[in-house]
């Protein structure tokens, strides 16, 4: 799929690379809108990401994709294959929090190792902005499928549950909100992130 994007809808900064051992992060580019639109309108993902079942018309896709976004980066393999998108949105830098969403192309969703891209993105956020807390919110069934509930209490703190909040798959379900604090993140991943990156494709 090709979507013609006005040049003013491009990422505002030059491509930026955050290198990991298996993934790297770079700025969103015009060529990414096609696979992103396909991924975000995939029936399995359509109710699970920020669009919550209401994907925009293709010509409005870039506007909607950047709506409320603080920053977002493409996760790609070290071979340059796009894997997914990690997004910081709804940020309040005065209070020091933001929300993070991530979506992976279907063929990468269950592989596990692309998760490194999310870690690098959170590290990127915490080192470039004065953030204290990062929120992950999802309808309860999505949170359960993603494994958010399993890691809550150790890494993620369950902060709120809005009951019967989201219409999801034909019924109203809870909206679960988890928080990742700066301290918990670095207590768990600090040593890993401090190690020099040795590329391991």
């Amino acid at each position: 799929m090709t979507i013609d994007i006005p040049t003013d809808k491009l990422a505002p900064s030059a491509p930026e690379v955050v290198l990991g051992r298996r993934t790297r992060l770079r700025a969103l580019q015009m060529a990414d809108y096609g696979w992103l639109y396909e991924t975000l309108t995939d029936m399995d993902a359509v109710g699970r990401w920020r669009f919550r079942g209401a994907p925009p018309e293709p010509e409005h896709f870039p506007d909607v994709l950047w709506l409320g976004v603080q920053t977002q980066l493409v996760v790609e393999s070290l071979q340059g294959e796009p894997i997914g998108l990690v997004t910081s949105y709804g940020a309040d830098l005065r209070s020091g929090y933001t929300k993070v969403a991530c979506v992976f192309r279907p063929e990468f969703q269950q592989r596990g190792w692309p998760f490194e891209g999310v870690l690098r993105f959170v590290h990127h956020l915490l080192t470039h902005w004065p953030l204290r807390k990062i929120y992950f919110e999802a309808p309860a069934p999505v949170a359960k499928d993603a494994g958010l509930a399993t890691v809550a209490g150790d890494l993620l703190v369950p902060e709120a549950c809005l009951t019967d909040h989201d219409l999801f798959d034909g019924r109203h379900v809870d909206l679960a909100i988890y928080a990742l604090t700066r301290d918990r993140f670095y207590a768990r991943f600090g040593a890993l992130l401090d190690r020099p990156v040795e590329v391991n494709a």
């Binding site: 269950q110 190792w113 494994g147 494709a201």
Partner: protein, 83 residues
């Protein structure tokens, strides 16, 4: 005492110790037998915990080939040079 030491280092005991180490690193209550029962976040965390516990960066193909917790425990055993 020698019997106690021998008992504590049997393969079964060592695997249970490795399993306990993975659980402690993850902070989870239990490990599923099959990795297909894990969500994307859980699998990502498990693969990180496995690599941290063995101080080994496994090839991506190997990580993708892991299907059970027993697979993970096997690589912990191999990396630590046990029979």
């Amino acid at each position: 005492m020698a019997e106690l030491i021998a008992a504590a280092t049997t393969p079964t005991t060592r695997r249970e110790a490795d399993r306990a180490e993975l659980l402690a690193r993850l902070g989870w209550a239990r490990l599923p037998d099959r990795l297909t029962d894990l969500g994307p976040l859980e699998r990502g965390l498990l693969l990180l915990a496995l690599q941290e516990s063995t101080e080994e960066e496994y090839p991506t193909e190997l990580l993708e080939s892991l299907t059970t917790i027993d697979d993970c425990l096997y690589y912990m055993t191999v990396k630590r040079g046990r029979a």
